[in-house]
Amino acid sequence: MEDIEHIEKEMKLIKADGRRLDGRKADELRPVRIEAGVLRRADGSAYIEWGGNKVLAAVYGPREAHPRHLQDPARALVQCRYNMAPFSVSDRKRPGPDRRSVEISKVISEAFSAVVFKEQFPRTSVDIFIEVLQADAGTRCAGLTAASVALADAGVPMRDLVASCASGKIDGVVCVDLNKEEDNFGDADCPMAIVPRTGEIVLLQMDGHLTYDEFQKAMEMSIGATHRLYELQRDALRRRYSTTLEDILKESPPVPPPPMPESELPPPPEDDFGPEGI
């Protein structure tokens, strides 16, 4: 990912007190904040801040699939584009799809294919866009977690949300949710995504080596972490819709209407009392 030629090859990742460099315990996640419905133009959207990661996800659809020959008469396509902004990493990332982002797009779309009710929307496509604004290891998990919230926000029918978290091995210790240093200098990284309700695994990758026992441990840790993330995802969705709901119930009946409901758009013609109107 980064040019690490000029950086020292070895790095102590676990401190004497057993904590990690950023002070976390082995099974501790970085702070995560999720917000749903952040984009006006998309059908559904979400923004996630996960440690140093900042990722935006947008969902469109179901919409007519293009090009036409890709349409499946029996089910919807689930398409995903994972993209890293040039400024998301310390050295400028060359813009555009590369081997890595094509692969991540593929595995993420396959993960969502497993939960979306595709049969309900034949010949359409559900398009997921994941934009990494700032990267600090674990962006595919952050992107997937955000995209899942965005899908729910778009009203796409699905079996469950998908939550995702990586775990890995640093200095011989199995830890959850590696950060950039731990990812670069650690021994293994193993991102996975699960469907929390059933425990199905919809994404599982590994970089580096883990023994069978270590792998079991890593999986257990990831599953524990995804359950915590699942709660955060659900909170984000509830917040998005209950603010509208609760606020309204409080200030209910004769509210003096907001002078201009749509703020961030250029003044729409229908709010203009001028004669040019239509």
Partner: protein, 232 residues
Amino acid sequence: MQSSGALRPIVIPGEAVGGPGLKPGPGTYSEGGRVFAAQLGIRNEQDGLVSVIPLSGRYIPQRGDAVIGEVTDLGASHWLVDINSPYPAPLHATESPWRVEFGDTARYLKVGDVIMAHVLSVDEIKRVQLTMQEHEARRLNGGMVMEISPTKVPRVIGKQGSMISVIKDLTHCQIYVGQNGRIWLDGNDRDTAIAARAIRLIEERAQASGLTEAVRELIEGAQRETRGPRPS
């Protein structure tokens, strides 16, 4: 505050919404005898049928729906209509209210024309056909079209059309609401603008109780405000 069903809980995909004995309705699915939400929405139970009323989502055509569409293409014996859904909707010449000669479709509807039509049929692979044989179907001349989220259409219409008739009565606008989230309004400029604002209010606050009153306030307030120097 007339609170009917104070806080209706929001359900999230994957959340259990019913045990055995309940039938899965729209927006839900069953697995292992239990019912789960498939969509983000509000849980609704009626006669042993659980459903989730979605809070967002695209318009999926259903037979009988009244829709407002825009003509996007002409064929020798049909028009292609955009009805704000993932599926293209053809309107065949025989389903139009006119006697159309083969190849003469352009005389009746041109690209860009807006029509009020009904969904004649939707098959299992979602091939849609429109009809203009119903009595309210027509070409919509003048006026303006606005788009709202299709999931908010029932609120704009209200129970037995209560909401929409309030707006129509107060603004003296002619309004058609399509199930596909498109609304056509016609009246003088000032009233159309007020009606459009009222509809935006409903869309934004679809879950509020006492919404009809809030809408009435908004319209009456806006009319008082703008009464003085009348434009046009």
